[in-house]
């Protein structure tokens, strides 16, 4: 096995009668950002705890950069950086101390831990709050501190549980750029989130989890291939008056086309059908101002899978 990223095979974990994770098999390659997508209670956090070497799986194998976190937790911890869904911050420590203490415990010398803390505060945009006690930080600022703490020992594999929650728009853009940069350096980044539009813009690939199980790639492909809705807006027209020309150009019955505010909603079977539809609209001389998928591919797949599961 040469994959230096994350490999999980047949991983299971239950708590008493609750089968939190029932069968997880996936790979997250190095140099890429992989999304972990699933509804609440799908077992994402439990899976991340097992990957982070905090929880032992009941069955199955995990490799973090080729290391088994159950057999060699210390070696796995040297390779992984884990950011929990809520930062447990030591209330009276400053952000700088929080990072440097973690650095000290990860084997950095006092001087190295201090300079690393300063560096990471800049990376996550907390340089002005470095000496404020952690308890006064807002939720978004705590998330950024959690990310800095996960990065302190320069890990090869990053496990991020809901990193974007509580972040303002600018911080989200910064996070996205940071994650892309980390992946570009050859690291493995696994991000769990249910803000799918966020994930869409940063992930290279996604792992879907439903009821404790990873969804097979065939089922994902099938779900992704199903008809999706597109939003069409014509310049200078409202949705109602745009519906008739759009229906005529596409050869559809105007009564079947829903209207949402200024947009007409049209369903296409995949990207090729959508492209053909746009060509038809343009060649009919319609002033197309906007033509976009109403939902991202992740969101669409997610909703389709969840609908199928119910």
């Amino acid at each position: 096995m040469t994959n230096a990223g994350i490999v999980a095979e047949g991983v299971r974990r239950s708590f008493g009668n609750v089968h939190a994770v029932r069968g997880v098999t996936f790979q997250a390659p190095e140099g890429a950002v992989t999304g972990l997508v699933g509804p609440n209670g799908a077992g994402k956090t439990t899976l991340l705890l097992m990957l982070a070497s905090l929880l032992a799986p009941d069955a199955g194998t995990i490799r973090i950069g080729g290391v088994d976190p159950v057999a060699e937790p210390a070696a796995a911890r040297a390779k992984l950086g884990w950011m929990p869904d809520s930062l447990g911050a030591w209330p009276s420590l400053s952000a700088r101390e929080t990072i440097s203490v973690t650095g000290r415990l990860s084997g950095l010398s006092p001087a190295a831990a201090t300079s690393r803390a300063t560096e990471l505060l800049t990376t996550v945009g907390l340089e002005t709050l470095g000496d404020a006690p952690a308890r006064v930080l807002s939720r978004g600022q705590k998330q950024r501190l959690g990310l800095a703490r996960a990065l302190v020992h320069d890990p090869q594999v990053l496990l991020l549980d809901e990193p974007a929650s509580g972040l303002d728009p600018q911080a989200r853009i910064d996070l996205r750029l940071l994650l892309r940069a980390l992946a570009a350096e050859g690291r493995t980044v696994l991000v769990s989130s249910h803000i799918l539009s966020e994930l869409e813009e940063v992930v290279d690939d996604a792992v879907f989890m439903m009821q404790g199980e990873t969804v097979s790639s065939e089922r994902v492909a099938e779900a992704a291939g199903r008809a999706r809705t597109w939003r069409i807006r014509l310049a200078g027209r409202d949705g109602v008056s745009a519906a008739l020309p759009v229906a005529q150009a596409l050869g559809l019955d105007v009564a079947t086309l829903p209207v949402d505010r200024r947009d007409v909603l049209v369903s296409f079977e995949g990207d090729a059908a959508a492209a053909a539809g746009l060509t038809a609209l343009v060649s009919a001389g319609l002033p197309v101002a906007e033509f976009s998928a109403a939902s991202g591919i992740l969101e669409h797949t997610f909703l389709d899978l969840e609908g199928g599961a119910r």
């Binding site: 159950v70 030591w90 415990l105």
Partner: protein, 359 residues
């Protein structure tokens, strides 16, 4: 085990504690209590030429009392409280081992308890102004105070790792401390009196001539009134029986008591009459006396002037010290509990206590 990581974890706990205002309020209250204690003990022991040992012993015992009362709150939630606050897992994913985390927290709790002892230092210095405090007393009592503070801190830290809920582990620590401090005398008293033995008591009283009222003497004369040993004593009435508690069977129960350990281990002085000159000695005398088996065939002879019983000094000299057994037992139990806490806190966790989450 890595000393620098151990100290980093201990310092992490200590830093958080010393940055809270309530911590200083607690130390202030403690100092006020000691002011009152010191002043009152100077008054209590003013009848002695050297009031130093008395005052010193009271201040040390009150310090131990306050440490024993406060320590469970400071240490009894150190591990499960961190888990509740989600600050335990961030430590566990570092290179710090579970042993380092548990022992680091224990060290922090111990040092916190010792801060109270440090507040007591000025009062102990004042106590020595009363005169007569021996260096060996200071040395021994300080060593035992430090050790007992560690034992209570270890119990609290270990129970916070063994039990899932902070409230429950703090209460359990208090129960353990109460069992040692209050439970041991209660068990001692109850068990000792329930296994009482029958004792026959005979009283020989000095005889006086019924008509003249003159004492009856061994040599037949009547001039022995000033010398009891020459007087004739005879038994009056049949022997009586009574049940007396057998504390000599259960005295070892008290060996587990922190205050008994402190008093028993500290060498203490005696007055010229053979009475203890401090509270350590008085406690030690009371506990050592329980080792002496009662005389089940008791004869009180008025004509035997030697029969006044041994002095406190003689009792202490003729009985065995037990503090090292008590302290040793506590250290063993505390070590086993800490080891259990380590195995319960180990990650990757296989079993989780019901109702807890790891992060």
């Amino acid at each position: 085990m890595n000393a620098s990581r151990l100290w980093t974890i201990a310092r992490l706990d200590l830093t958080q504690r010393i940055r809270t205002i309530s911590w200083y309020v607690l130390l202030g209250v403690f100092a006020v209590v000691l002011v009152g204690t010191t002043a009152l003990s100077f008054l209590s022991f003013s009848y002695l030429d050297d009031s130093g040992p008395g005052v010193y012993s009271v201040v040390v015992l009150v310090t131990l009392l306050l440490i024993v009362l406060v320590s469970p709150t400071l240490s009894g939630n150190s591990i499960n409280g961190d888990r509740d606050a989600a600050t335990l897992a961030p430590l566990q994913v570092t290179q710090a081992t579970t042993t380092e985390i548990v022992l680091g927290k224990f060290l922090a709790a111990w040092l916190t308890g010792l801060t109270f002892a440090a507040v007591a230092v000025p009062f102990l210095v004042i106590a020595t102004f009363g005169g007569g405090v021996e260096p060996i007393t200071v040395l021994a009592s300080t060593a035992i105070l430090v050790a007992e503070t560690g034992v209570v801190a270890a119990f609290g830290t270990a129970l916070s790792g063994v039990l899932a809920r902070p409230l429950f582990s703090v209460a359990a620590t208090y129960l353990v401390v109460a069992a040692l401090t209050i439970g041991t005398p209660i068990a001692f008293g109850l068990i000792g009196s329930s296994i009482a033995s029958e004792r026959t008591e005979r009283y020989l009283t000095a005889q006086y001539d019924p008509t003249t009222g003159a004492p009856v003497c061994e040599d037949g004369t009547t001039n022995c009134a000033s010398d009891l040993s020459q007087q004739v004593c005879e038994e009056e009435g049949p022997p009586t029986t009574s049940r007396i508690p057998r504390f000599d069977y259960v005295w070892w129960i008290l060996a587990a008591n922190p205050f008994v350990i402190l008093a028993d281990a500290t060498p203490s002085g005696f007055t010229v009459d053979g009475y203890p000159d401090d509270l350590f000695g008085q406690t030690k005398y009371a506990v050592r006396q329980a080792q002496v088996a009662p005389d089940l065939d008791y004869v009180y002879d008025e004509c035997d002037p030697e029969q006044n019983g041994p002095t406190a000094e003689e009792v202490v000299a003729s009985t065995v010290p037990s503090w090292f057994i008590g302290l040793g037992g506590q250290v063993i139990v505390a070590t086993l509990l800490l080891w259990w806490a380590v195995s319960r806190t180990r990650t990757p966790a296989r079993r989780l206590p019901p109702g807890t989450r790891i992060a």
